[in-house]
Amino acid sequence: MDKKKAVDDIEPGPAPSRSVDKFGFIKPEQGSSPDGISKSRSIHEREREERRIRKWRKMIGVGGSDWKHYVRRNPHVVKRRIRKGIPDCLRGLVWQLLSGSRDLLLMNPGVYETLVIYETSASELEIIRDISRTFPSHIFFQKRHGPGQRSLYNVLKAYSVYDRDVGYVQGMGFLAGLLLLYMSEEDAFWLLVALLKGAVHAPMEGLYQAGLPLVQQYLCQFEKLVIEQMPKLGQHFIDEMINPSMYASQWFITVFSYSFPFHLTLRVWDVFLCEGIKVVFQVGLALLRFCHDELVKLPFEKLLHAFRNFPEEATDPDVLLPLAFTFKVSNRLVELEKEYQKKMEGSNASTSTKRSQPLKSKTFSRIGSRAFASSTNSEK
């Protein structure tokens, strides 16, 4: 093992002089980084941004004290503002308020520490193997055994102990990594718990359970939506033998946090934490709609290439998200889920029962932003 260690310890060159973008990702050598936000801002824009932050601060209150009250009184205002993007400096806090993770944290003092320090996990080696392969181009996660990698390891290990059925699954690292860029380890852990166990929205643990039942369900729902919303493209996919798992499984498994322009990932997450998984369907549909006229002309191989290289205009959040919101899919998703469940029960009753596990942990509560969740779910 000595040689391997020696090789691994040599850093590939995160020389401090290399320039990083606004989010901390090392810019590609060629210079021209199309991160869509690198244009220098005018004074007017900066003033507008400052006004926006002041509005948000008022809405949140000190440390989040006014948030629940504001949300209860003005759910539509909050939703609209979130769709326009949460100011980056407040993102970490607002994400915790939206997800219900704040309440979990407060109700479970010391739990995270116990999980990290005193428990052992069967997934430890698997986690270690993936640590340096999660956002490898981000400055925070680059340094071997540095604070970023250590935090990432701790959060993933803690989760794998917290839910031993799920353990650690590749893909979770990108969720945890994204969260760690905006909050502390313990906050990131509870947000992961809130998502997977369903504090506010439907639990997402099925994305990672054996057989990936929820991935299969989402892909099935997505395939139907494509056919319904874009019949010509849907038929073209069928003709070219394109299955949604070839391009969309990572969209769902990592909620667009993997191999996706980071500024867009953040905007998707703002909405995702507020409105739920629905936005992943909407953004997926919007990407296909935006490139529709091009995609219908492409053969199998070129299609697969196109899915990995959406044009820069398509990944501008201020273009893509408004387009995404034009797809009204809430009701249809519910119907398609029912259809899917019925079909699964019919076909193999024995294997598909694992999905809707009840919350087994008493540490869990559904209070939090419940009021907000129901108010946003009721409007379409």
């Binding site: 093992m1 000595d2 040689k3 391997k4 090789v7 590939p12 698997e126 193997r129 993936d130 340096s132 392969r133 999660t134 956002f135 490898p136 699954v169 590749q170 893909g171 690292g173 990108f174 990672y208 054996a210 057989g211 990936l212 299969q216 892909l219 099935c220 395939e223 139907k224 003709d239 070219e240 033998m241 299955n243 949604p244 798992s245 070839m246 499984s249 990572q250 498994i253 990592t254 993997y258 191999s259 199998f300 191989e301 697969l304 290439h305 990995r308 899917y340 079909k343």
Partner: protein
């Protein structure tokens, strides 16, 4: 490596299988782009690449599916190996457990896959000789017993990477000629054989 103009291009679906962190993506990246990165992002789901390779006066176009290595993603694998003309099962020579896992993949392919699939066993990270846990002889014997061809590769040092794909291409074309003379079949009827219909989740 460019295809000669005018000759026939054969399409061949190829799948890479193997344990987490054995270097499946790195092998593909080396073959397709001639690049190597020390910390390759984990593959989530699967990734598609294509590359053509000229063998004598014929050209094979590989449609490559690079799969996620973790056991939990196992349920997605069949749709990628079904109908594949070739498979590369990858292990890491510095990790004995990854060799065990490679054998499991071979068994699964033998049981579930197409009997005509050309299978290669790649012992990757061959540059890390001092950390070796899997003797080359052991892998070679295993490969012979199971009708695979075997190479130790290094995506990092670019050792045997093109060679393994080249050998697969050669064997595909040989098998093809044999088939041509027998029944006049095509290597990979497209697009129908690319994916088996049951891979679709609904309908």
């Amino acid at each position: 490596m460019a295809a000669n103009a005018g000759n026939k291009i054969r399409n061949a679906k190829l799948v890479l299988l193997g344990d987490v962190g054995t270097g499946k993506s790195s092998l593909v990246l080396r073959f397709v782009k001639g690049q190597f990165v020390e910390f390759q992002e984990s593959t989530i789901g699967a990734a598609f690449f294509s590359q053509t390779l000229a063998v004598n006066d014929e050209t094979v176009k590989f449609e490559i599916w690079d799969t996620a290595g973790q056991e939990r993603y196992h349920s997605l694998a069949p749709m990628y190996y079904r109908g594949a003309a070739a498979a590369i099962v990858v292990y890491d020579i510095t990790n004995a457990a990854s060799f065990t896992r490679a054998k499991k993949w071979v068994q699964e392919l033998q049981a579930q896959g197409n009997p005509n699939t050309i299978m290669a066993l790649a012992g990757n990270k061959a540059d890390l000789l001092e950390a070796r846990q899997v003797p080359a002889e052991e892998a070679k014997t295993y490969a012979q017993e199971n009708g695979l061809f075997f190479m130790e590769t290094s995506a990092k040092a670019a050792t045997n990477v093109n060679d393994i794909f080249h050998e697969i291409a050669k064997r595909l074309l040989q098998g093809q000629q044999a088939q041509d003379t027998q029944a006049g079949m095509v290597l990979n009827q497209r697009p129908a054989e690319r994916m088996v219909n049951s891979s679709s989740c609904c309908s």
